[in-house]
Amino acid sequence: MIWDWNFTLEILPVLAHAAIVSVEATLIGFVLAATLGLVLAVVRIAVPWTGWTISVLVELIRSTPLLIQIFFIYFVFPKFGLVLDAFTAGVLAIGIHYAAYCSEVYRAGFDNIHRGQWEASIALNLSAWTTFRDIIIPQAIPPIVPALGNYLVALFKETPLLSAIAVMELMQAAKIIGSETFRYTEPITLVGLFFLAMSLVSAVLIRALERLLNRRTMR
């Protein structure tokens, strides 16, 4: 028999527990990516001479595989005295990797702000900080929420990579079940179904959010 329902029910709680770790890694990683990405994008505008450095840095991060970056943070950082546990190292790597992508999204958002908004802020003698906080960011963020949402989903789908440094997330749990019982069909299929379900649900949510934001900006 290819599919065993009893076995499925038996492993479901183990996988559900591991799924929590996956979701945790996703949320912490995304908060890190969204914040760091915003900082990169703002610094690039506020301090013009950093522009070149930041674009090279972003290009470097985007051109190398996340898996290698995870290994790099997990294995190389300790050589410089910074020992991180697997979860922290993995989430940090994911956060930095996606910060590079997010910073480009924010940049597109800022580029879409009409020049007059900046000029008016200068004319009104607003400080750079006030301009960003009260004028630019409230206008720049809503249109890019769907793009950020897509990166959230992409980031979520990258969390199985954490299994490479033995973080107990979904994929790792499925692999351990598989190696203990020699049954891979159920655990790996369940993991796939879980990701599929989450992706489809989030696609619907992003579309709904997009519609909501469109309605608000149309008004």
Binding site: L60, L67, F72, V76, K157, G178, F195
Partner: protein, 242 residues
């Protein structure tokens, strides 16, 4: 980023690799890593070919195929876009044998990556075809062209130009995803790095070289796609002017 900056970055990356390769602490890792890089390139190229075929096929079927095939193509795209590449790789590697289909790690790697990127690619192809101006379709109808003629002579050549940049991004993703195949025992660049790291604990030189090698490969790809884009769109601009 401008093409000049990219070329400068590539030159810098290659120069650093070259200089490091002459250093004692680095040189002994070079042969193994280069061997791994060869396999990485092989998987990336074959995967990209499969992705192109699947992308175009799935897009055309979804646009013009009969209902059951269209439905099948949609399921393919949703499954491969909705789950992560690593899960697909493991599924093909560990679960497929249970159904009596035992493949070596290499074909599994090419298949998983090609199918994964092909699913994303089909959306690119579909979008590009639909973005061709309505007048072009109407013109074809007016000229009494068959659907095949219309696609081959008018629509696809124009859609092709719009497809190049997104396909470039997908190929970069594919190249980076090849590092996942190290987890199903293929000795690509990432695998060699892991293996050497476990044997020698020379973590810094190994991972520095590996990052630079991936960077160089991505940059070659990015620059190549930029040149292709420039060439293709130059032809289009001429066509429009005439």
């Amino acid at each position: 980023m401008g093409i000049r900056t990219l070329v400068a970055m590539l030159a810098a990356a290659l120069a650093v690799i070259g200089i490091l390769a002459t250093q004692a602490g680095y040189s002994l890792f070079m042969p193994g890593l280069l061997q791994g890089a060869m396999l990485t390139v092989e998987i990336a190229v074959l995967g990209a070919l499969l992705a192109l075929v699947m992308g175009v096929l799935a897009a055309l079927v979804r646009l013009y195929g009969p209902a059951p095939l269209r439905w099948l193509a949609t399921v393919y795209v949703e499954i491969f876009r909705g789950t992560s590449a690593l899960v697909q790789l493991f599924w093909l590697f560990f679960v497929l044998p249970q159904f009596g289909v035992s493949l070596d790690a290499f074909p599994v790697a090419v298949m998983a990556l090609g199918l994964n990127v092909g699913a994303y690619g089909s959306e690119v192809v579909r979008g590009a075809i639909l973005s061709v101006a309505r007048g072009q379709w109407e013109g074809c109808t007016a000229l009494n062209m068959s659907r095949a003629q219309m696609l081959r002579r008018v629509i696809l050549p124009q859609a092709f130009v719009a497809m190049i940049p997104p396909w470039g991004n997908l190929f970069i993703e594919l190249l980076k995803s090849t590092s996942l195949v190290s987890l199903i025992t293929l000795s690509d660049l990432a695998f060699k790095a892991q293996q050497m790291n476990q044997n020698t604990f020379k973590t810094i030189p190994i991972f520095t070289l590996v990052l630079l090698m991936y960077l160089a490969m991505s940059l070659v790809l990015t620059i190549g796609m930029r040149l292709l884009e420039r060439r293709a769109s130059a032809g289009l601009a001429r066509g429009r002017a005439a």
